[in-house]
Amino acid sequence: MSPQITPISDTEQDLELAERILQPDGTRIANHDLDRYIADLSAEDIRALHRDMVVLRRIDAEGVALQRQGQLGLWAPCRGQEATQIGTARALLAQDFVFPSYRETGVIYARGAAPADFVRMWRGEEGAGHDPESLRVAPLQIIIGAQTLHAVGYALGIRHDGADEVAVTYFGDGATSQGDVNEAMIFASSYRAPVVFVCQNNHWAISEPVSVQSQYPIAGRAPGFGIPSMRVDGNDVLACVASMRWALEHARSGNGPAYIEAVTYRMGPHTTADDPTRYRSDDELEKWRGRDPIARVEAHLRALGELSDDQLAEAEAAADAMAREMRAECLGMVTRPPLAVFDGVYAEPHSGLERQRSEYAAYLASFDGEV
């Protein structure tokens, strides 16, 4: 008979069950499993992580603002998830390849996205905001969970190529209910594919609390599939770096997949189209405000005397500069001409579509005299 399984009863317990290195007030505690993974991190490294998070929060705020001003069709804020995204993504090596969902602004930022990359898709200009090959990040994925299988297939290719790479996939707590995400674990396990699953449990799937998907720790599912997993405090950037390094090391050394559940919180609405006041309480939000991931690492650095006012100001300035560029790029975007709708459907000519294209060209041309 399987051992007793106990559901998660409340948020406090929820977080107790997660690995941690920094307490919410910024004090560092010993973590037997994780410490060795960040033994090499200097204060400067931690400051860089902090700076990334500050910049990311600003990018996110700018995305929201641009949407409110009608410049973007939609934006999916990642406020509150900065430690998870920056921590895990900064642990990657350049050659690793990422399959994200739609909320991973911090991940594409860490992979080197240009300011325009953040807005191109949300503005409705193109299907993908960034160049997948140069960032080594697949396009943002909207179909919940679909990308997890892509990561596994990519990882299978890595294994066949004998390459020193890892495929990484990000997905939400809601996504864990999709068949695809479960099949991804099964295929990854069966193939011992070098892939790391990163579940961002931000407690909500639009209006559904995570308890609709699972009343048990999500990380607890992976071991049943033969995949070692870790449940980590997703608002602790050091724990995120460390656990991701553990997972990457595991996958890179030929041991097959690893799984991380980062326990964090979506501070904003699901997207700019959402009104979270309809379904969640101020209390809950307030509680999580007290666990802010940026404040935590800031307090840590401050306590170490490793974050001066000047350094903080520099980070803010970098954030402002990024936001300015993002805005300028966004406002300067030129929509492609009408016939561009036909571009890129096929790699090779398709007679049916060619005909439609020329008919539509003739149709457009018929207005030329008129206007």
């Binding site: 069709g73 939609l74 919940i144 209910s177 068949g179 639009i206 209006s207 149709y363 041309a365 018929s366």
Partner: protein, 336 residues
């Protein structure tokens, strides 16, 4: 009579269906506390409680598959698929189970499942939020397919769909959710015209413009514009895509002899192809010109900034009307 938006009319239809029959249960993502991302189920959780308005885990195959199980038990599930583009994970359950169980059991097991799909484009949405997948379901034997274009039809035909002992795929044009119209809330279902009849929205004599969903409004605008040029268009709202009410359609075509079929969905093997093939079969000797299609291109739905170059609009409809009437048009390269 009440003035309701299409969205509110759908909500009213669901409420009435749930009051009429306590076997009606709703399943979907975010349909409870939130009332659905389009607020169609707003207030229903409060009225009927969480055993009848069920927020499901995030998995469409799971939603439809469990609806099948509920139907086995005598329930009458109404599923909300959050957006058109998210119905595909449930495709297997719909095509291989929902559509076939009645046939598989020679009628012993009924599948009175309604699958509501907020549908189609024109709202500047992100990818996968503007799909027009109706042809897939029309091609699937065992399903009925409804597409509504106005609040009155929405209210009535949703109730009819829920009351039907057959599975119904129910398409709701999301760009019309906020459009208002008169709704007769009082007529009993039994006294309503049966689900599945087309409707002549405007009579005309020169050509028949056939469409459904949000394109009906565009077609009516086109007819208005055509009238200014002295062209008289008959506009038909199909309302039911499976079955199609070919009696009404054929009657119109026999009168006008000219046909244009419009939809947002892409063209190859779409619903317009079906309508044209069937109309040609039935009315060949009445046709004075080749029936034409005005449809989305055979491309994936484009990014929002380009969608207006994909969606049929008034001008594209009028150009097709000109072509079917042999008036100067884009292909003759004429008038400009």
């Amino acid at each position: 009579m009440a003035q309701l938006t299409l969205g509110k009319a759908l909500g009213a239809g669901l409420r009435q269906a749930m009051r009429d029959d306590d076997k009606v249960v709703l399943l979907g993502e975010d349909i409870g506390r939130l009332g659905g991302v389009f607020r169609i189920t707003d207030g229903l959780l409060d009225e009927f409680g969480p055993t009848r308005v069920i927020d499901t885990p995030l998995a469409e195959s799971g939603i439809v598959g469990t609806a099948v199980g509920l139907a086995f038990r005598g329930y009458r599930p109404v599923v909300e698929i959050q957006f058109d583009g998210f119905v595909y994970p449930a495709f297997d359950q719909i095509v291989a189970q929902v559509a076939k169980l009645h046939y598989r059991t020679q009628g012993r097991v009924r599948m009175p499942i309604t699958i509501r799909i907020p549908w189609a484009g024109g709202i500047g949405a992100a990818e996968h939020h503007s799909e027009s997948p109706e042809a897939y379901f029309v091609h699937t034997a065992g399903l009925r397919v409804i597409a509504v274009s106005n609040p009155e039809d929405a209210y009535r035909s949703l109730r009819q769909a829920v009351a039907s002992d057959d599975p119904v795929i129910f398409f709701e044009p999301k760009r019309l959710y906020h459009h208002k119209g008169e709704v007769d809330l009082d007529t009993a279902l039994a006294d309503s015209p049966p689900m599945g009849l087309a409707r002549v929205m405007r009579t005309g004599t020169d050509a028949t413009l056939i469409t459904y969903g949000a394109m009906v409004a565009t077609a009516l605008d086109a007819a208005e514009a055509a009238a200014d040029e002295g062209v008289s268009l008959e506009v038909i709202d199909l309302r039911s895509l499976s079955p199609v009410d070919y009696d009404s359609v054929a009657a119109s075509v026999r009168k006008t002899g000219r046909v244009v079929v419009a939809h947002e969905a892409s063209r190859e093997a779409g619903v317009a192809a079906e309508v044209i093939a069937s109309v040609t079969e039935r009315c060949f000797e009445y046709l004075e010109a080749a029936p034409l299609r005005v449809t989305g291109h055979d491309i994936p739905y484009p990014p929002a900034k380009l969608e207006k170059f994909h969606l049929p609009d008034l001008d594209r409809m009028l150009d097709a009307v000109d072509r079917v009437l042999d008036r100067p048009n884009s292909l003759t390269g004429a008038d400009a």
